[in-house]
Structures are given as C-alpha cells and as structure tokens.
C-alpha cells in the first residue's frame, strides 16, 4: 500500500510536471480573467471571488514551480508560433522563484486588503480588478521571453500601479501617483526605443535570440543604456527614485506592500534578466562598476533618508530604494569567476527575502495606521501593547532587511559578501557591510520608538481601534516566512539553479 502511495505520488508528480507547461500561460490568464469577472459581477455581490481567484492563481503558480523544480525550465510557444515570429513564455528557476514570491505576497495582500480597505472606508470595487490585473502582469513579466511583450506588461504594471497608489483618496496620494505614472511612462518610452534598436540590429525580439545575436557595438550600447535608464526610472533606482517615496508611502497599505515588494521588484528583475541574458556581451568590468556604483550610492542614500523620516511608511519606502541597491551589486560581481555564482544566488535570494520582509513591514505599518489613525513614529510611544503582534512582525521584517541572522536577509547578505570577498572585491564587501549597518540604524530608530515608554503625563484620548485578526496575523506570517528562509536557503537555491544564465554557469567547473 505504501508502494501504491509512492506510485500515486510519483504519478502525481509526473502529472504536475506535465501540466507545468500549461500552467505557464495560466499564471497570467487566471488572475486576469478573475479580475474581469470580479468587475463584471461587482465585488460587493461576490466577495468570495477575489480570494478564490487568488487561490487558483497560487495553484497555477505551484504547478508551474513544481514543474520547473522537477523538469527544468518550462516553455510555451503562444499560438504555436516559433520564437522569432511568435511569443514564447519561458519559466526558468529565476522566474519560478519570483512567481513563488508573488504568489505568497499576493495571497497575503489579497487577504489583507479586504478588511483594511473596508475599515478605512475605501471602495474595493476598483481595487480588486486593478490588483488582480497587476498580479497577472507581474507573472507575465516573470515569464515573458519577448522584449515587446515585456513592454506591454511594463505599461500594464505602471497603469495598475498608479491608481492603486492613488487610492488613498487624498490629494497627496493623487499627485504622487501622477508623478509616478509620468516618470514611469517616460521610462517605458526609453525602454521601447531601446527595444526598437535591438530589433533593428538583430531582427528579433526574443530574449535569448537577441542575446545570442547581439554584438558589442554602439547600437547595443545605446540600446542597453536606453533600456537600463528606462527601467531604472520605473524601478526607482537611485537618481530616478524621486517618485517612489510619495507614491509608496501615500498608497493604502496593501497597495504599498504590493508596489514595493513586487511591482518595483519586477522591474529590477527585468534589469537583471536583460543584463544577464541579453546584454552579457556588454557586461564588462567598468560597466559593472558603473551600475554597481549606482547601487552602492542608492544603498547609502536610501538608508540616510530613511533615518530622517518622522513617519513609518516613508522609512519603509526609502528602505526599498536602499535595498534595490543590493540587487545591482550583482552586475559588477557576476563578471568575476570567484564571485559569479554566490553573487547570482545572493541577488536572487535577496529579491525574494526583501519582498517578504518589505510586504510584512508595510502591512504592519498598515496595522498601525488602521489602529491609531496615523503612522507618526512619535505616536508609537507606549502604544505597543495594542500592536504587539504587528510590531513583532515589523521587528522581524526589519531584522531581515538589515541582514541579521537568523533571517533570510542574512543569507542573501552572506552570499553577496562571500562572493565579494572570494573575488577580493573589498569595495563591494564594504558596501554590503556598511549597508547592513545603515539599515540597522534606521530600523532600530523605529524599534526604539516601539519600545519607548509613553511620555510623562500621557493620557489615552482614544483607545486604538481593534484590528481584525486576519490583518493582525498576515504580516507576522510573512515575516516568519522571511525568517524561515534564514534556516535553510537550499530549496530556493536548488529551484534557482534551473536555467541559470550562462554568464554564471560558464565558471562552474
């Protein structure tokens, strides 16, 4: 009987692997169609529909991830047309890891958003379709292997992100969202221009083909510059970060969580994917240093700004700017034989852990806003008994952001650092270390307010509002997952190893 179990288990595994190819388009279409259905039915009439759609999306994502884990990279030629003509959907380990992150954070946001928005008196009618389409778009970005299709997805990402950021119903949120949209559209245009050049040079839009055909000439350089700059604007990488703080900190908490943990992250993912798969011919040491230098400045700048914010959500938003800097450190390191593999693993790991921790932090901040009606740090004094669970989540999330063991953030820091030290890149090692310490400064500044006693003569004017249970525990679960990733990184890294870029694997022996 046990062998029968084993057989059926084996069959299930085979079935899952076989269906993975079909799951590839489904991770895009399921949330999209759910979004349209929710709009059609009306969210008040079917409040169960969005969670159901989220669950189905997660199921498709699980099938896909399982398929990648067992059968290697998955690919689906849409319409049956071969790549240069048609569009290929392609999921390797990197994509699968990001899809897994999106599934987890997406589920959390879906569960959290209902009570939060209802409690704040905001309408869910437009939130659900926008959010579910955004989820579809995120998955689309992770699996699309076509440069122009990626442009369409980027547009969708911006257009869903801006209204989500504007949903807080005040003028600040609106103007922030508008600023976000304008800059992001400008970024899209630059990206499109670069893609046009690439098409002109290679006659193809397929990622791998373009990467194979591209030569290190002026066309490729200008295209890479345009695309990178455009994506940097969309991802709020340092000099083009100005939109992020107001947009992310004025949005409703679940939207902030999605924007910081997933949306901007997806764009950085694209930067890395393009540089590692399409532009490796251009990735010389000085180029890596340039981009890595931008990342290093972002790490310091974001942290310094985060130290000076009087409110909680801006702290977390600036932390995002700093944390993205780590992802860029991959590019100077990946060209070095000794550092390529750990840096690659570290950057991908960081993307995942940061997503979990950042979502947890924003949702915890949302709990604070929900309970207290504001997110001023001063106002946290003496109020933590009411928010102890949320503040625990916040503390755990911050621990992960600053790379303290035993959280997942530490492992990503370890990987990056060991890569830098193995390749004797002392500057990048110093950046990682200093970045962690700076993160500790702003994190513990917040935690000090959490622990501070109430000011003398403090009288409770209004009892904080009671949090719904699901809102209270969602950030904790996310933060604990970030913690769990600190116990062992092996499953994630094994998944990541499927279809690693050649620039990384070429040094393997």
């Amino acid at each position: 009987m046990s062998s029968e179990f084993a057989d059926s288990g084996l069959m299930t595994a085979e079935l899952l692997t076989a269906s993975a190819e079909l799951a590839l388009p489904l991770v895009f279409f399921v949330p999209l169609l759910t979004a349209l259905l929710v709009f059609w039915v009306g969210s008040t009439r079917a409040p169960w529909l969005p969670p159901l759609g989220a669950a189905l999306t997660v199921a498709a994502a699980v099938v896909l991830i399982f398929g990648v884990a067992n059968g290697g990279p998955q690919s689906h030629h849409l319409g049956g047309w071969q790549p240069p003509l048609g569009i290929e959907l392609y999921a390797d380990g990197f994509a699968a890891v990001m899809i897994a992150l999106t599934a987890v954070v997406g589920l959390a946001v879906t569960l959290y958003a209902g009570p939060y928005l209802r409690g704040k008196g905001l309408s869910l009618e437009h939130f659900w379709p926008l959010w579910l389409i955004q989820w579809a778009t995120l998955n689309g970005i992770f699996i699309s292997a076509d440069l122009f299709n990626l442009y369409v997805m980027l547009e969708l990402l911006t257009l869903t992100g801006a209204p989500l950021a504007a949903m807080a119903a005040d003028r600040a949120a609106l103007s922030a969202a508008l600023r976000y949209m304008l800059l992001a559209l400008l970024g899209s245009l630059a990206y499109l221009l670069g893609v046009a050049l690439l098409y002109g040079a290679t006659g193809s839009l397929h990622l791998q083909e373009v990467g194979a055909l591209l030569e290190a000439d002026a066309t490729a350089a200008i295209a890479a510059a345009l695309i990178t700059a455009g994506l940097f604007a969309k991802a709020a990488i340092f000099p083009l970060h100005i939109w992020l703080m107001p947009a992310h900190s004025n949005a409703p908490a679940p939207a902030s969580a999605a924007l910081s943990a997933l949306v901007a992250k997806a764009v950085v993912y694209l930067v890395l994917r393009l540089w590692l798969w399409v532009f490796p011919v251009l990735l010389t040491a000085p180029m890596g240093w340039l981009i890595g230098g931008i990342g290093a400045v972002a790490i310091v700048y974001g942290a310094v700004q985060a130290m000076r914010q009087p409110r909680l959500k801006p702290v977390i938003a600036y932390s995002t700017i700093a944390q993205f800097g780590y992802l860029l450190l991959l590019l100077p390191l990946v060209v070095l034989p000794a550092a390529a593999l750990p840096a690659w693993q570290g950057a991908a790991y960081h993307a995942v852990v940061h997503g979990l921790a950042k979502a947890a932090a924003f949702l915890a901040a949302g709990n604070m806003i929900y309970a207290l009606g504001h997110d001023r740090l001063e106002g946290l004094r003496g109020l933590t008994p009411y928010l102890s669970v949320s503040m625990l989540a916040l503390a755990l999330a911050f621990a992960s952001l600053m790379g303290m063991p035993p959280t997942g953030g530490f492992l990503s820091k370890w990987l990056l650092l060991s890569g830098a030290i193995a390749a004797e890149q002392w500057l990048w090692a110093a950046v990682v270390i200093v970045g962690g310490l700076l993160a500790a400064v702003y994190a513990f500044r917040v935690l000090a307010y959490v622990h501070a006693a109430p000011p003398s003569g403090w009288v409770e004017l209004r009892a904080p509002r009671r949090l719904p249970r699901i809102m209270e525990w969602t950030p904790v679960v996310l933060a604990l997952l970030a913690l769990l990733l600190g116990v062992s990184g092996m499953p994630l890294l094994q998944l990541l190893a499927h279809g690693a870029p050649e620039i990384v694997t070429q040094w393997a022996e």
């Binding site: 009987m1 046990s2 029968e4 693993q345 004094r381 003496g382 933590t384 008994p385 102890s388 625990l392 621990a399 303290m404 063991p405 035993p406 530490f410 492992l411 370890w414 990987l415 650092l417 060991s418 030290i421 193995a422 090692a429 270390i433 962690g436 310490l437 500790a440 513990f444 935690l447 000090a448 622990h451 501070a452 006693a453 116990v487 062992s488 990184g489 092996m490 890294l493």
Partner: protein
Amino acid sequence: MAGMEGVGMERVMGEWMATAGSVQQSLYQALPLITLIVSALTAVIIFGLRDHRRRQRTFWNLFGATIKLALVAVMVYAVVQGVVLTVSWPVLPGVTLRLSADPLALFFALLSAALWLLTTLYAIAYLENSGQRARFFGFFSLCVAATAGIALAGNLFTFFIFYEALTLATYPLVVHRGHPAALAAGRTYLRYTLGGGALLLCGVVGLYAGVGDQAFAPGGMEAVAAWAAESPRAATVVLALLLAGVAVKAALVPLHGWLPIAMVAPAPVSALLHAVAVVKAGAYGVIRIVQDVYGADLALELGVTPVLAAVAAVTILYGSLRALAQRDIKRRLAFSTVSQVSFITLGVAMGGAVGLVGGIVHLVHQGLMKITLFFCAGNYAEKLGIHRIDQLNGVGWRMPWTSVAFTIGALGMIGLPPLAGFISKWHLGLGAYQQGWYWIIGVLVCSTLLNAAYFLPVLRRIWLLPSPPGAPSERLRLRGRRLEAHPWLLWPPLITALAALFAGVLAASPISPLSWAERIVEQEYVLP
C-alpha cells in the same frame, strides 16, 4: 484486493516500527536542536500570552527552563558516555548549520540552563508590577535560546548566527524600561555589538572563503593550518577580525564601553548579561576561535595571542581601576565584570593546558559569582531603594541572607581561598608560570589587590558601619517584621552563592566545574 491490503498493512506496520525506532534514534541525535527549539517555543508562547496572564506565563517560563535543564542533563549524560550528539543541515551551498554537544559546549550550556532557571525565578518576582512583561519574558527566553545556540554551535557559521541573534534578542531587554536613558543605552549597546558583529561577519566570511565549511576541531582545524601556511597574512587578518568581533561582547578594552551603560536595564537582565549571556558569549567565542578554529599553537605562531593576552591584561587592570572609582553599585559591578571576564580571555590567550583550564573554569566561576552579586544588588535596590555604595551602611543586619550571598560573591571575586575565584586565579597563575609568561602573575597579583580594594570597603560598609539613623528598616524591625526580600528574590542568590562556595571548596570532587574543565582540556586539547 483485501488480501493484498492485509499484506500491505503488515508491511506498513513493520516499516512503521522501524521508522519509529529510527525516529527515536534521530530524536536523540537531534537533542541539541530540540533544546534550542524548547527555548524558542517558550518565547513564542509567552509572546502570545496577554500581559495580565501572570500565572500562565510563570508556568510556561518555569516549564521551559526546567525542560531545557533536563535536556541539557541528558546531553551531559550522553557526553559522559562518550557520545557527541550532532545535528547539521545545509543552509547554503557549502555552508551548514551545525549543532554539536561536545563537552565544552555542554559546560557552557549547562551553566546557561541552570542560571536561566534561577534568573527566571528571580525575574518573575522582580518584575511583578512592571508593564510589558509578555514582551520582556519573551525576549528573555529568546536571549537564552540564543545563548544555548552559541554554546552548542558546531562551526563558526552557526556560532555567528546565534551570536548575532543574541544581539537582537538582548536589545529589547536593555531598553525595556523605555525611558530616554534606557533608549540611549540601547543605542550605545547596538553601536558596539553591531559593529563587532560586522567585524566578526567579515572574519567569518573571510575564513569560509579561505577554507570552506569546517566543524570546530579541538586543537584547530587542519584546513586552517594548511591555509595559514599558504597565506599567513590573510589568516592573521581573519583571526584578528574574528577576535575583534567577539572582543566587543567580551568587553575587552577599548571595546567595553557598552557594558557599564547597559546597566540601566532591570537587574535580572544585568545578571543575565554579565553572567550568562552576552559577555560570556564573547568569552566563549574567544575560546572557540583560538582553540577550535586556529588552535593555540597556530594563533601563537601568527603572533596574535600575545597581543590578545596583553589586551586582556590591560583590560583586567583598567576594569579594576575604573571599578574603584564608581559610586554606583551596579556600575562598580559592571566594571568588575569587564575586568573579571578578561581572565577567561587571558587563560585562553596564554595557551598551555593549565592556563586553559583556568580560563575555562572561570567561565562558570565568574558566572556564579557575578550573578550572585547582581541578584543581591537588585534586592538592595528593590527592597531598600539602595543604588549607591555609600547607602549600604549597615545593610548587612537588615537583609542578612542577601548580604551573606553578596559577601560570598565578593570574596570569591577577590580570589580568597577556598572560594571559586581562587581556583581560577591559581590555575591562571600556574599556567603563566608554565608558559614562562611571568608578567601575567604580576597582573594577577595587581588585579587581586585592586579587587580587594574595591570590594572590601563595600563589605565593610555592609557589615561594620552602623546604619543611618531613621532608616525605614529600623522602624520595621521594631515592629518585628521580616526585612528580607521576597523568597523568590532571595533563593536564587543564595543558591548561586552556595554553588560558588562549593565550586571552590569541592574543586577536587569529580563533579566540580574544575574537574570538568580539566577533563575537557585533557580529552580535547592535550591528548589528541
């Protein structure tokens, strides 16, 4: 089908039995991990309890502490049988998390488990009426879990993980009171420990880049020796980084600044910080790095241990001198810790079996004595509101049991035979003689004189000077009321004081810390 199912069932049962056996076996093997999980789980349960659930919290606290002590006892039994329980699993490619219950680990783990139980008793009574107790006891448990992790760490990576986790878990305890002084102390604490953590991280990563994932090996890792032969400069730098990293928590001059400031924390926290957790983690780290990673010979060859010994000597004298100048009881005790903990470092740094025995045994001795002193200081503050030394006049007659415990602790610190402190210093001196580092004997003599100079006046005030007229206690005594602290506050210091006494008096008995330390050194560092 039915028949086949029957056969299948039998097979399943058989397999299940086998599995159960192997599960039992692997559970036994996993004891180090389970020990950690017990402490962490206790913390989680306590976090989940609301603040006013006092009885439940007390139950879980004591339950967790007792279970842990029992588990450690089982592991001690195992190690006496000659079995070293080890758990390990890969965390990253080429990096494992490894918990190993070797004799030295259990020596420290047993100390922390036993003192945790006592400190918990003490803390429950001490913090009876303060706020945020759920948070306090939660982090208290986490803190001890991290200490146990440090003790049981089987390689440098694991050690680092728990070393940093300890920082995280201790911060909320330091700032527990939440007033500006506490927050400032918390900032200072973080500045030092996070900085030290960064140095240590650099060192650990450097070592992993050099030699890869290696378990602690008594007498030093072979791979490290090979690496050091190949690139001595890198090996020296890494060793210096590692030692500088742990030196922060071990409060070696000039990295000791956080320790006196952290005194704003509640007394049980101070007791924990000074006797079991943070400071000891640093000292324990010095032992592990010098003995189990590099090996004393290699460290000496690289020229690092003489420097370390010098720093430790300076710290011993400096701490004592500073202690002399303090008016506040807890601050004087804090500087005394700075001085005393460096004996461990000194013992390790000088190399040689006897000195090492002195260092290792001082890990326990200092813990017992210092925790006694802090418990007593807490009792004075709690019962009589005494914080400064000049308020101590005649206290001995008002709180006799507390004062007896304090006296034993203080005399032990001075190194009066036959108390625990004497045993440590004797071995240290002997070790120095053996190694030919005679200047250390001078340092020991100086330090003893200084110890006497800052502890004896306190004892004189407690027992010999008359209490100030009109002290509240006088009136209470006239009415025939008890003056002593609450039993839960009184028994822990008494027990630890007795333990310190017996550790010295019965040093020759086979279950004394000294014998154990000797056994560790013989088995692990001398014979192989």
